[in-house]
């Protein structure tokens, strides 16, 4: 699979939020305004990219040689949680400006299922290191796209007369469902048509 195909797959065809329904918690929680949505999206992209690389190393460097592949889920959770903490500390030290932009979102994605999901999908698809990294970043970009679209929709919904019982999260979920429907238009035929499959 070429890298462009991986990119298109994880941004559009199997978009993590709208097709796989992973990472819904930050998707609903942090999509109230577009500024924080962009911050959250970038944080997820960053963490998903690094986590893919680190988890790939842990899997092929530690678990496979010891024949402990079945422990990958819990091992990945451990590694990702520690990694996010470490990244947070490093950013805080090196770049206070970046920490201000991303810092508050990083702890939120410590055990985010989208990040764990991409790490597991990587090893299940037997990607190599660079493919894993591409998949991780692409999944993050897909997440970013979905959450930014959602935040813009929600900013507009704020000003619309929505019925009382639908205000807030319920109408957000309904909108997300309709968005997910529209993303069903993307499937593997997209790759075939682009001669990438």
């Amino acid at each position: 699979m070429s890298y462009i195909a991986i990119l298109i797959t994880y941004v559009f065809i199997t978009n993590f939020i709208l097709v796989k329904f992973m990472g819904l918690c930050p998707f609903i929680g942090v999509s109230k305004n577009s500024e924080s949505a962009i911050g959250m999206g970038l944080a997820v992209t960053f963490v998903a990219g690094t986590a893919s690389v680190v988890c790939w190393c842990v899997y092929y460097g530690l678990l496979v040689p010891l024949k402990l592949e079945y422990l990958k889920t819990i091992a990945f959770i451990l590694v990702i949680a520690a990694l996010v903490q470490l990244v947070e500390m490093v950013i805080r030290k090196i770049s206070p400006a970046l920490y201000k932009a991303l810092g508050i979102y990083l702890p939120l994605i410590t055990t985010n299922c989208a990040v764990l999901g991409i790490a597991i999908i990587n090893v299940e698809n037997q990607y190599n290191l660079l493919e894993s990294f591409t998949a991780g970043v692409s999944a993050g970009l897909g997440f970013t796209m979905a959450i930014i679209l959602m935040s813009n929709i929600r900013e507009r919904l704020e000003l619309k007369p929505v019925r009382k019982y639908f205000q807030g999260v319920p109408i957000a979920f309904i909108s997300a469902g309709i968005m997910a429907l529209s993303f069903m238009a993307f499937d593997n035929s997209l790759l075939t048509n682009l001669n990438l499959a």
Partner: protein, 272 residues
């Protein structure tokens, strides 16, 4: 059995290694934070209202710490916070600090119920004052009055602004901190900040001529100048067909005040 033990040992080992790594990283990557700055940050009200002109409470605390800003800009914190900040920073409380730290409260200068307002047309757009104002300055015939979509209610972080049963926007003076967010969001400038000691207000914002005000509104100020000429001791000034109440009056005789309030033909001079 041995494979279970093996898995356990490996995972525990992984956890321990990561834990120790994080502990070392925490020590190595620690940031030195000044004690004064921590004190300042803890002192802030934490409302993040932005009334001081900085991005939030933390940004303001940092600016004061670095000497880029003076204590006393924070409206919610008021005088106590200004004094506390000066103390931490070792600054002398300025002599004229009293004068600067006048407490301000928001006040709504429109007395007509939203339902009763005369409309030019039927507005069916976004439920937001600024959006409504873009279209011919709103649907009300009175172009200076409250549009009534409640943008100020949303802007207030302290829950001080509300619409009362008569459909008039009100500010709860106990909750209002004078941060001025509602005054910034209102497209017509109906909400203004006035000193908390002000005793009277003319609840109207219209500079239209008397005849137009009469046409559009049953309550607005027509600029008749009765308050200015008949009662010069109260200090009301009519400017461009709108009477403005002085921030201070030295009269306290209740009877005189009753007569004075009665004298307004539109009954829109009110005690605050």
């Amino acid at each position: 059995m041995s494979s279970v033990l093996f898995a356990f040992v490996i995972l525990a080992g992984l956890g321990i290694v990561l834990g120790i790594g994080l502990a070392i990283a925490d020590k190595k990557l620690k940031i030195e934070k000044d004690e004064k700055l921590i004190k300042l940050e803890n002192m802030m009200p934490g409302a993040n209202c932005g009334g001081c002109g900085f991005a939030g409470c933390q940004a303001y605390a940092e600016a004061v710490f670095k000497g880029n800003a003076k204590p006393g800009l924070c409206a919610p914190g008021g005088k106590t916070l200004a004094a506390g900040m000066s103390e931490v920073m070792g600054l002398q409380q300025q002599e004229n600090g009293e004068e600067k730290a006048v407490e301000y409260k928001a006040y709504v200068f429109c007395n007509e119920s939203c339902g009763a307002k005369k409309k030019d047309f039927d507005y069916k757009g976004l439920c937001d004052c600024n959006a409504a104002s873009m279209l011919f300055k709103g649907d009300n015939s009175c172009k200076d009055g409250c549009l009534g979509f409640g943008s100020c209610i949303k802007a207030c972080q302290f829950g001080a602004v509300s619409k009362n049963d008569d459909g008039i926007i009100e500010v709860d003076r106990n909750k209002c901190t004078g941060c001025g967010q509602c005054t910034k969001v209102c497209p017509n400038g109906v909400i203004k900040l006035i000193p908390s000691t002000q005793k009277f207000a003319v609840k109207c914002n219209s500079h239209d001529k008397g005849i137009d005000v009469r046409k559009n509104c049953s309550k607005g100020c027509i600029g008749c100048k009765i308050c200015e000429t008949k009662f010069p001791e109260y200090g009301f000034k009519v400017d461009n067909f709108l009477s403005v109440a002085p921030s201070e009056t030295n009269l306290s005789d209740k009877n005189a005040e009753e007569i004075f309030l009665e004298a307004c033909p539109r009954k829109i001079i009110v005690r605050i």
